[in-house]
């Protein structure tokens, strides 16, 4: 397995167990072991792809890293600082450096807020900026994700899915984070729009030297964008390596199965051109 030289995020032996739910009439069901003692490192400035099927624990892991879920046990360090013990103001301070882009741009933006206010909110929480500074920053952000200033006075419902995802990304970038968790950022979008968003994430990563955890189930998209790929299955890490190596020469049976399941006939047709 390959290791990054300059580690930004390090996950060590992380376990996340959810208390059982779903027993009849409120009786506790079996606890759900979403992440079962997983360790990995994310290098500064890299895009690490995280793939797995639904229920594999990939989203839970992403949320644990950002402390949106508190891990049951284990350690998560960001720039060497332990996050799992942080609370209150010190946790909020760390959150500035790590942000999330959500899957569903229809659900993740407050429908009653104009884009202007959506982008201003994180600035008000995390940054002490004057009104003019905030205004400048908001204009900078909207241009950064490829929209025009005219978008600022509009509401989320006036935008298409791809544009909404751009707004979601702008919001995540507002506080100049170093680390971005993108949880299935393209799976709710149309095929012709997915490429736009993939390119945008790639460009922003280069431009801002971001570190990205890119969670998705679509292996072709993950391979396209990631430097390394981690494969999860039932809460465990089954394979981690350079993207090319994982896709061209998978070591684990599960990775092989996952790759074999991707419809590939169209690619061979295209290649024989």
């Amino acid at each position: 397995m390959s290791h990054p030289t300059d580690v930004l995020v390090s996950v060590e032996n992380v376990v996340k167990t959810f208390p059982g739910r779903g027993g009849a009439w409120g009786a506790a069901g079996e606890p759900v072991h979403a992440v079962k003692g997983l360790s990995l490192e994310i290098g500064k400035g890299e895009i690490l792809g995280l793939v797995g099927e639904s229920g594999s624990g990939k989203s839970t892991l992403g949320r644990c890293i950002l402390q949106l879920h508190r891990p049951t046990s284990g350690s998560i360090r960001f720039r060497g600082e332990e996050l799992t013990q942080l609370k209150g103001a010190s946790l909020r301070r760390m959150r500035r450096h790590m942000q999330m882009v959500f899957q569903d741009p229809y659900a993740s933006l407050n429908p009653r807020m104009r884009v202007q206010a959506l982008l201003e909110e994180p600035l008000l929480i995390h940054q002490s900026m004057s009104k003019t500074q905030r205004k400048e920053r908001i204009e900078e952000l909207i241009a950064l994700v490829g929209l025009t200033g005219e978008a600022l006075v509009r509401y989320p419902h006036e935008f298409s899915g791809g544009q909404r995802q751009r707004i979601g990304i702008a919001r995540a970038l507002a506080v100049e984070p170093e680390f971005l968790v993108c949880d299935e950022p393209i799976s709710a979008l149309d095929v012709s729009i997915q490429a736009q968003i993939l390119n945008l994430i790639q460009d922003l990563q280069r431009q801002l030297n971001l570190t990205v955890l890119f969670i998705a189930h679509d292996l072709s998209a993950v391979r396209h964008i990631s430097d390394r790929i981690a494969v999860m299955y039932r809460g465990e890490l089954v394979e981690l390596g350079e993207s090319n190596q994982v896709c061209d020469d998978p070591q684990e049976a599960y990775t092989k199965r996952l790759l074999a399941a991707v419809p590939q006939r169209w690619m061979s047709l295209r290649s024989s051109e």
Partner: protein, 335 residues
Amino acid sequence: MKDQTEHESKQPLLEIEGLRVSFRSGRGTVVAVDGIDLQVMPGEALGIVGESGSGKSVSNLAVLDLLPKPQAHVEAKTLEFEGRSLLDLPPEEMRQVRGAQIAMVFQDPMTALNPFMRISGQMAEVLESHTDLSKKDIRKACVQMLDRVGIPDPEQRIDAYPHEFSGGMRQRVLIAMALLGSPKLLIADEPTTALDVTIQAQILELIRKMKEEGEMAMILVTHDLGVVAEVVDRVLVMYGGRVMEEAPTDQIFLAPSHPYTKALLSCLPRLDGEEERLEPIEGNPPEGMNRPPGCPFEPRCPDALDVCKKEVPSPYTVGEGHVSYCWLYEEEKSV
């Protein structure tokens, strides 16, 4: 388009000409399908590919008369199944067509089954309404069908409730239900979209097997070009309520003729990691309201001509069974 003799010897199972579907809403009329033609021959598998809002699902719901009545308005020059018009068919006769002649498999196996009914009861309904079989024979037929679609231990599993099945197994149950009436045409609308990749591959394999075993024709509606390549004989590419291109499956990938199809293929990331950078299609898909009078892809088309804005292109034959709805070919001809 094709040679005449073939047309005479083989009558299409489903023939649609000039289908137009619009919805009235508070803000105006939304045109979802804007004049499409399509044919399905007996035993053929047709793929309809398109993004959301392309009208791919609506056109199929219109065929089965499943659209909400006062809001949806369906018109067509021809809408025939086995030579019989489905337009203005009395509800009672339409019910006999649905399920027995044309069956449908929907996208979401989680919501398409009644959570309060055992699988046995839900499956039996299909045969109760379309055959005079006895209760015992119905059960036997259902168990056999579950076995055919690969449900292990069908004698026991048939008495389970939907929540006792996984997503993939539920989709198998739905396919079994669709096949019970031995339909001549199966319409599968995004049958694998809600499923995980490994399960998706299993369901595609099952659909392929079912198609090869029976003489059933099939329409596979999907946004996923990869899925289409695995299963169907012919592909119809839709965009903004219109057909852009129609071709034998291999031709769509080997020699796409419409700028939209070409653009769609080049914005897909490949698993073999060949491409450096994706070439996205700039802009956004059109909305149903205030459609431009010309080609719906014109605003995003890299090769758009002046005429594309104003007039809808007529079909242009590019090869055998390969038709492109694009003005570029008209221009070429006149030059």
